[in-house]
Amino acid sequence: MSNVTQIRGLNISQCIGIALEQEMSRDERVVVLGEDVGALGGVFGTTRRLQRLFGDRRVRDTPISEMAFTGMGVGLAMAGWRPVVEIMFADFIGVCLEQIYNAMAKNHYMSGGTVRIPMVLKTAGGCIGSAAQHSQCLWGTLAHLPGMKVVAPWTPYDHKGLMAAAVESDDPVVYIEHKSLMRHKAESFPIGFEVPEERYTVPIGQAQVVRRGGDLTLATISATVGHSMTAAEALAGEGIDVEVIDLRSVVPLDAETVAASVARTGRLLVVDEDYLSFGLSGEVVTRVMELLGPSALKAVKRHAVPDVPIPAALTLEKVVVPSVASISGAIRAIARAS
């Protein structure tokens, strides 16, 4: 990558914005619809500049009408456009889930392959102290419903490359940003902080080993990759050598990369900021066991949000949302387990 121009000083929301800008430049059929995506540039700043660059026809501020504009994304896609529809908070998806899981996700299959829905549903998840209705990740919920790819990046490099891949994909892709990462500077990340100016894509469905280690495998996604990296570095001092895997994509789920790691370490910890039950953590564990057989695992543990609404008070939120401290505790527990 030595001859590639790097952009300096970016934060995560700018990585997303630049990706959208490049996709809109190279393909005039890309349109962005959503609440406050135009003049404001998105409440998390990810669509800043786009309306100025591409006009208010292609970057459209919608009324607060998620059912309508999500369904419009489906209609636009069927008419040959490549809509990027922003649902401001992942929590709001309940308002328009009908169009997402019955139309966006199913029309390709139901049409016998004659219809394509190259649509990106972009939304922000994750905890920033905003309580039960503005903190959910929900990737497990969306991944449970067939027909849509679901990605949740962590590194600056992946935020840009996965957005490009999502827009380029002929399938519907749900792209879940983490609100707490939006203002983080690229340089503050331990890896993937170099963001090429040139367009590139990151393949959807490939996990990445972000830290090598031999004692246990920690698989996670989105912001908790960062917390897990911090915990792993600290625990190295205690003699625990953690391999950290950034799943990057929930659908398709790259269980093979996790299994290959677990085959060496024999211990699997899945950390998930989404709810514990019936979700990503259970799925990763099951798939790894299916691939390796149960005897390959010396220890297995899930650390996720217990099945409770996210509380408002930070003293309570801290108890339920995985943090560096709680992840460290989970690592110690599984490292000791025999």
Binding site: P63, M67, A68, G75, L76, Q99, N107, S111, G112, T114
Partner: protein, 337 residues
């Protein structure tokens, strides 16, 4: 745009009824399972749409979609084959009767009540973005007019002057609930005023009145003045679905409505009274339609059901991973645009 004669539209309505009866036959025989919603009694609305739309116009229809498909030019054989869940169907048997997709005619449906208008509004936005004078028609029933998306879409289409036609088939019942019990206003069409939209309520059992009003609605939307809301009243002669006990309507009411408001009977009488056709012409038209549909039905019944090995194909365009972990990935469908 073609303004068909009353006689042409009568022929179309007879074909439509025969088509719906062919669907009913499949339910009785067990070849079609699940819910089946036919539009017998409502033919004048779809036959009134017929001719007003071009291929580049879009129609997004409902759980009771067959007649709108016929009006939009969807070929009958692959449509009936899809309803009979055959590999030769529009969607290779994956969609079934409520999920019909014909990209060549920009026709699609949704089985979810109230979900047609948002998709149609997307088509309208696409036409507007491209500077085309195409329109998008979202078909809905009186029941769907009460979903929140109705308001959202009419508001957006009016605020942005999108070429949307909302065609409400008001058959007086949302499954079992009489429209008058759940509607705040005497009509649905009068809501148009709230959106500065074009609105009209017509007798949807008179095919000529529907044709004129629908052409007017389409012309309004096509001219760039924003959405049109056309409400056409009708009565479904079957239950909500085939097998519906239909205990919410009295037999007296059903018999009277069929006697007095059957669009085929009404149109037939009008043609004879006006001297636009003789009894023998009409009988020939009816026989011809029966023969046509019987021929198609026989071909559809002879066609193969989908191969079970293809059940996992085509969930994604780029389906490079197995849906069952550890299995071979399914081949990509490669279809679509």
């Amino acid at each position: 745009m073609t303004m068909y004669s009353t006689l042409d539209r009568y022929r179309m309505m007879v074909r439509m009824r025969c088509f719906e009866q062919a669907c009913q036959q499949g339910v009785v025989s067990g070849e079609i399972h699940g819910e089946m919603h036919v539009g017998i009694g409502q033919e004048a609305i779809a036959a009134g749409m017929w001719g007003a739309l071009r291929d580049d116009d879009a129609v997004v229809s409902t759980h009771r979609p067959h007649l709108h498909g016929i009006a939009k030019g969807v070929p009958l054989r692959p449509m009936l084959a899809e309803i009979y869940e055959r590999e030769t169907g529009l969607c290779r048997g994956r969609g079934g009767h409520m999920h019909l997709f014909d990209t060549a005619h920009n026709f699609s449906t949704t089985g979810i009540v109230g979900s047609s208008l948002p998709v149609a509004t997307g088509y309208a936005y696409a036409a507007w973005l491209e500077g085309r004078d195409s329109v998008a028609v979202g078909v809905l029933g009186d029941g769907a007019a009460n979903i929140g998306a109705f308001h959202e879409c009419l508001n957006i289409a009016a605020a942005w002057k999108l070429p949307l036609v909302a065609l409400v088939e008001n058959n007086l019942y949302a499954i079992s609930v009489p429209v008058a019990h759940v509607l705040a206003t005497p009509s649905i069409a009068e809501r148009a005023a709230a959106y500065n939209a074009w609105g009209k309520k017509v007798d949807g059992t008179d095919v000529d009145i529907v044709a004129e009003a629908f052409a007017e609605a389409v012309a309004h939307a096509r001219s760039g003045k924003g959405p049109a809301l056309l409400e056409a009243t009708c009565y479904r002669f079957s239950g909500h679905y085939e097998g519906d006990y239909d205990v919410y309507r009295t037999s007296e009411e059903k018999e009277r409505m069929q006697r007095e408001h059957d669009p085929l009977t009404l149109t037939r009488r009008k043609l004879l009274e006006r001297g636009e056709a003789h009894e023998a012409d009409l009988a020939a038209i009816e026989q011809e339609a029966r023969n046509e549909i019987a021929g198609i039905l026989a071909e559809v019944r002879a066609a193969a059901l989908p191969d079970p090995s293809g059940a996992l194909d085509g969930v994604f365009v780029e389906q490079t991973w197995p849906l069952i972990p550890g299995a071979e990935p399914a081949p990509a469908t490669g279809g679509g645009r």
